[in-house]
Amino acid sequence: MNDRLPNRLELIGITKRFPGVLANDNVSFAVKPGEIHALLGENGAGKSTLVKMIYGIMQPDAGDILWNNQEITVANPKAARKLGIGMVFQHFSLFDALTVLENIALGMDAKIPQRELEVKIRAVMQQYGLLLDPRRTVATLSVGERQRIEIVRALLLDPKLLIMDEPTSVLTPQEVEQLFVVLRKLASEGCSILYISHKLHEIKALCDTATILRGGKLVDTCDPKEETSRSMAEKMIGAGLKEIKKPANTLLGRPKFIVDRLTTRPDGAVGIGIAEVSFTVHVGEIFGIAGVAGNGQNALLDALSGEITVRRGEAIRLDEAPIGAVGPTERRRHGLSAVPEERNGHAAVPEFALYDNSVLTARDRMKMVRSGLLRRGVAKTYTDKVIAEFAVKAQGPNATAGSLSGGNLQKYIMGREILQNPSVLVVSQPTWGVDAGAAAAIHQALVDLAAEGSAIVLISQDLDELLSLCNTLAVINEGRLSRPMNIEDVSIEEIGLLMGGVHGESAEMAPTVVPPTTIVAPTPMAPEAEPAHAH
């Protein structure tokens, strides 16, 4: 990177307003050629809105975008690609049933004969060490491999600026390192990279510059290598971080929740089931389940919550009562609550008022129903209590769930379950897409609930979260659960290998799980790794 080079991209006073929120307020920063520039901020800080304007998905209400010192208007993504701006989204747009090649061909603006395209794809893959078989069907690929398709798709256009939106949220630690190798190589060839993330150690390891947004406003542009994770986190959040208070006494009680060889069938052709999952959670224990997205976490949550039942009731036991064969309502009566990963449309109904959402899972335990009729007053009182005790920012119990921000909705959902005083709580991704303040509150609530004698199963992709909260940790891969490990005994490396489907301490490859062709050639690199506890 050369400071005397003209800016590749410069934003001057970008402002974007949505009904009710100022998503970006007078944001200005510049990206040099070959620079890896981090865009750091909590969820809702305005990062995605900002890059959507750069990529032409939205237009700014005010402000200028300069491209190579020329003022431009990016009318749409096609125009952005023509300028040389590529983007890899957090959520992939791939057709499962088509091959890698077909997927890339569908996304191209120009019609290129398939044979010619394949040659080009192979050349790009070769150049950046992105090993992938263009003829494979997407359904058979891992998430990391699917991301590679999106990267190849962007690289085919020979971009001058590549925008990566939260690229590592679904990757294993090893896949993250492989991605960084590719990005560094790209940058060394002069391509600028705008890297959106809220993972501080990654930004310290990868980026040259970091622009920090908070509440739509630019807080600071700094050199991440000269900052500590904590100092950046505080700029991002705007206040001192709260430490989680964990009770010193970690002696566990008697076995509370026993899962015994639980197996479910995959849902649909590309879905995944769980196979022979067994574990035991004790009174006061937080049992963590790590794993890369799409390895059966949703199937496991559905099977534990009762949305999917099995014939053998003994497969799930709560205080010795077999509950494997009964549905969610009956399981809640036994004291088992669950919080699925997806807030909108699964844990809550966005169109419904909050008090109606309380009826969804709390109607039995909180006595909101009498002789087939709803007791609205009871539901509203309970919702008021959830809002107050979990500091949910909402206009009372009549506000629709959809009007809440992600973090507040998640706090409401967690509060709704926790205030029912469940003896077993199963949660999946409780802080996914939640701002740091809300995440800390949710973590504290989980720790407190365990301290009061509940057993908690925490399914998460966030290793930091798992390592800081759990007593015991297991890894799920392809629907199978690894042996549980005491939290003091685990190493990041071992978890990473288990997440990638490599079993056993000797770290031997399991060829049936990860075909060798899909592994990126190991490149020696020294990641400036942070300890996993970022704060």
Partner: protein, 368 residues
């Protein structure tokens, strides 16, 4: 200048009420234009179809009698639509309901009285429900799309009708016309004195309030609403999707069957090949125009009944065919579906983005 649709944070309650009214007004306006273009007095046609039945008091009883089946069927359909179950075979369920009532009436022979009438009406509800149960089995067991199966079952029902009224149910003293024997006086619903308004109209006035209460206050109504709004969340809440499909179809069919039985015992007193008059299909418009809300359905049922009665008026005054009413009904459905977008989105007129650019301001010196 550009026109842009922006998603509202919450659906607009105002638009929920305004759009059905606007749809009716737009239908009237378009009607004037189209008929004028065809060389017919459009203004007169629209006034006769939409206003005369309301202004002429002697037409009120006709409107009430026509509105009753539309409201009752519309209520049942609105429940199903709320749960995302699309029963469009109410016409068949209505016919089968009436035939079942007729079957009980024939079995009762000359016997009449309240008990027989009640039995006939019960038979109508059960018959309509049973007819809808077949698509329910197909959907829950085999995943057959209920839109297709309910519609196809309508045509089966019409064949059953022509078989029964031409064979087993045919009036032995009826000069060989394919029709059932007229009901005796003590087998028909009581009338309001000096009118043709039968007890079914009262039922149609009471049911919307009962449904309103059920939908907003009962766990059953909650189940219907949550399954329709977010099936995945409903499963999480412990509500069974298949059970909801069953309930939605049985209620839709039962209500259609009830309407058929009431129409038979209250208004027509005989069933012939002309019995299916399209109420089952028009009720789909009623459900949507009424915004799937029980009280909305009550009002929409009256509006659609007005167009039926008005169509007959216009037939004699401006000499346009009776089918014209159907055209107006279709236009209404068209407008209500098209205007649905304004409930969730707002329209914004914005100038070109460049005009809004303020002088480039320096970056705020925050941090450090």
């Amino acid at each position: 200048m550009r026109i842009k649709l922006e998603k509202r944070p919450d659906p607009s309650r105002l638009m929920l009420v305004v759009t059905p009214i606007a749809s009716v007004l737009l239908t009237m306006l378009l009607g004037v234009i189209v008929f004028d273009a065809l060389g017919i007095d459009g203004q007169r046609a629209v006034i006769d179809i939409f206003l005369t039945p309301l202004l002429a008091s002697y037409k009120w009883q006709d409107v009430a009698v026509k509105a009753a089946p539309l409201i009752i069927i519309g209520l049942g359909l609105s429940i199903g639509n709320r749960a995302n179950v699309w029963n469009i075979g109410a016409e068949g369920q209505y016919v089968i309901g009436a035939l079942c009532a007729a079957g009980v009436g024939i079995a009762a022979g000359p016997v009449g009285g309240p008990l027989v009438i009640a039995a006939m009406i019960m038979a109508g509800i059960v018959g309509g429900g049973a007819w809808a149960a077949v698509p329910a089995v197909l959907k829950t067991r085999l995943g057959v799309n209920e839109i297709l199966s309910t519609l196809m079952f309508t045509y089966v029902a019409l064949q059953v009708l022509s078989y029964l009224v031409g064979g087993p149910f045919k009036d032995p003293n009826g000069r060989n016309f394919p029709a059932t024997a007229p009901l005796t006086a003590d087998q028909t619903l009581p009338l309001l004195p000096f009118t043709s308004v039968h007890l079914g109209v009262g039922v149609a006035l009471v049911l919307p309030f009962l449904f309103w209460f059920l939908m907003s206050r009962s766990v059953f109504g909650y189940q219907i609403r949550v399954v329709g709004a977010a099936p995945h969340a409903a499963r999480h809440g412990g509500f069974d999707g298949n059970q909801t499909v069953w309930l939605a179809l049985l209620i839709g069919g039962g209500m259609a069957g009830l309407a058929g039985a009431l129409e038979f015992t209250g208004a027509l007193k005989t069933i012939n090949l002309g019995f299916p008059s399209g109420y089952g299909f028009t009720a789909i418009i009623v459900a949507f125009l009424g915004r799937l809300h029980p009280i909305g359905v009550l009002i929409a049922g009256i509006v659609l009944a007005v167009t039926y009665v008005g169509g007959q008026v216009a037939q004699t005054t401006v000499h346009i065919p009776n089918a014209t009413a159907g055209i107006f009904q279709a236009m209404m459905l068209f407008f209500i579906l098209a205007s649905d977008i304004f409930v969730r989105y707002r329209v914004r007129f914005i100038g070109s983005p460049k005009s809004a650019v303020s002088p480039a301001a320096p970056a705020p010196a925050a941090g450090e």
